[in-house]
Symmetry: C2
Amino acid sequence: MIVEKYQNMLNAKSVIRNLSERATARGKEIGYENVFDFSLGNPSVPVPQKFTDTMIRLLQNEDPMTLHGYSPTLGIPSVKEKIAASLERRFGVPYRAEHIFPTSGAAGAIAHAVRCVAKEGDIVLGIAPFFPEYHPYIDLTGARLSLVPADTENFQINFEAFEEALTPQVAAVLINTPNNPSGAVYSEETLQKLAAIMTAKSEAFGHPIYLISDEPYREIVFAGVKAPYVAKYYANTLTCYSFSKSLSLPGERIGYVAVNPACPDAAMLVNMCGQISRGIGHNCPSSIIQLAVAECIDETADLSVYETNMNLIYDTLTDLGFSCVKPGGTFYIFPKALEEDATAFCTKALDYDLVLVPSDSFGCPGHFRMAYCIDTEKVIRSLEVLRKFAKEVYGA
Amino acid sequence: MIVEKYQNMLNAKSVIRNLSERATARGKEIGYENVFDFSLGNPSVPVPQKFTDTMIRLLQNEDPMTLHGYSPTLGIPSVKEKIAASLERRFGVPYRAEHIFPTSGAAGAIAHAVRCVAKEGDIVLGIAPFFPEYHPYIDLTGARLSLVPADTENFQINFEAFEEALTPQVAAVLINTPNNPSGAVYSEETLQKLAAIMTAKSEAFGHPIYLISDEPYREIVFAGVKAPYVAKYYANTLTCYSFSKSLSLPGERIGYVAVNPACPDAAMLVNMCGQISRGIGHNCPSSIIQLAVAECIDETADLSVYETNMNLIYDTLTDLGFSCVKPGGTFYIFPKALEEDATAFCTKALDYDLVLVPSDSFGCPGHFRMAYCIDTEKVIRSLEVLRKFAKEVYGA
């Protein structure tokens, strides 16, 4: 009687995880410092000292029964207030505590948001290239992820294809800016156009189409780039955030769903998140982590290394003749491979101990992803190897 | 397009939570020290100092990138090893790391376990009286909770009713010992009989029937009572544990599923838990909490207050003529009400600022639950009020 759908998921192994395991195994042979592992999006800078200090202060001074006691179903009110106030201060959207639902990272946030608005048989429309983990978040609700082909020129949105794909069966559109894997940041123009189309179609279909905005890289935006706040452009927006990247604590599983106060069903959607959480047995992130993150709400880790790495890599890639959209943020870059078959390209790179992820699982063939959340010193060494690889194999 | 099933859950409010909110509101009027609130099962003793010390040590000494980095999908290996070793040492069942899946408390553990073995249309068989939150854990899988009527003599298992209810549609049996709400501890005889029947029926039906054993109160067992370890009696057992009660940290959301090594599908079931976690976006409990709890694996908070409180309450109740099974563990007691309608009884008690929970939602009418995880001083004061209430309203 073991449930088949989870067994089937086991058989569909993650390409990224396989590569990462291979890199780890190879590291045991030749030393991990000699494996140029660009596979995993794991932050490479430490958590801010203020977070550590806050944790210690809470542990030393707070009543342990309050500190480690049950959170209310909808999260700790003081934490929700601080998140809402920070969003209002920074983006001018008048969130209040009641619009915020703390979750286990952006993963938990997206899984809750999708469950709120998409039921069995519905379509959730994603934009290629996309984060492949959207599949389990959506598939297990009984809804279906459908993809709009990539705008490979700029990694904004291919609006012609988007309008065509936005049928009455679409319950929600799921976007991710700054984007994993492309590093692109959606422009104000893109968001305005997206909102206009979704508003028109919602009216035409006679039901709301929700916008689920996955924003774990919101704080990693490079010089000269503006990252507009998505919810400002569309009332029915559920913003999914994680502190994993901004504070460098992915293992602590802390993020939130913020429902736009302009969304007519905002209060009910947050309450529904609480019920979904009950059903999956999650019942809020760790209480001490909620409290400590709330004290560090406007802090970030020192994120500057990602921009340093990006510039080094981008310059080398373009110098070698790679076709590549310059990332506006994140710690990813998504160049075109030097042959049509990205998997073949990445397999050949492995011979040089360069661990690159082929783009097929991101819904955009012919590219590869590099996650440059590694030390700059290693990036510099890797670029020499990349030059050698491109030259020897492709005559670049 | 908002999903109806979660909206419907919102309308079915929790009796316990309503009472608790009422107690809090009344506390604001007359001072919370004057409200005898027996509604919520929230531990009333502090976390062991060793936990606090371990957390501080980890924060001060560990590399923050390791400490707060992503857990592997199936949990941190060193944590899983320590949990397995502790279970083997204490109960003689040869668990290894690969049999352990860390979760967000027992709630997360049960929700994962049920999703592994029960699919849409299946029955999960519970034993009354039962913890009402089993409903959301089971209902949202599409399976259905069916209840075996209580053995009101001893709150063990009514085996005649159990055998009748154990049809081929039953994918799993869900038990809870020490039991919330009755405080009963299943005897070795009960567990042997349960295992014998389930083994025979599994064979007769030609498919395994899984036993999901919910054990958050395993460490709260009173003098003279033996709590046999459930998985020793039945190979296909998924043990669901939480450190919430033993370590007094319910807000930190940490527990595990331990799949019996004797279960033929053990390895696959743990792997499936990882896939379920991916789909609900949970992806492991907080990494620092996993690491700290693993260092305190054989510790408990000072749990003796619960037995002190139980004896005081039990003696008074029996003295007043209540019919009551003496709890063997937990911090609950489940006496018969002094009239048939438990809700009417508890409503009258509210006039005395006694907050008791009527038993209807526990699947066993005519009783009430007292959660005596409160200060002994307050228990003593409450018993005077209970005497007054029983005398004035029921002539006891």
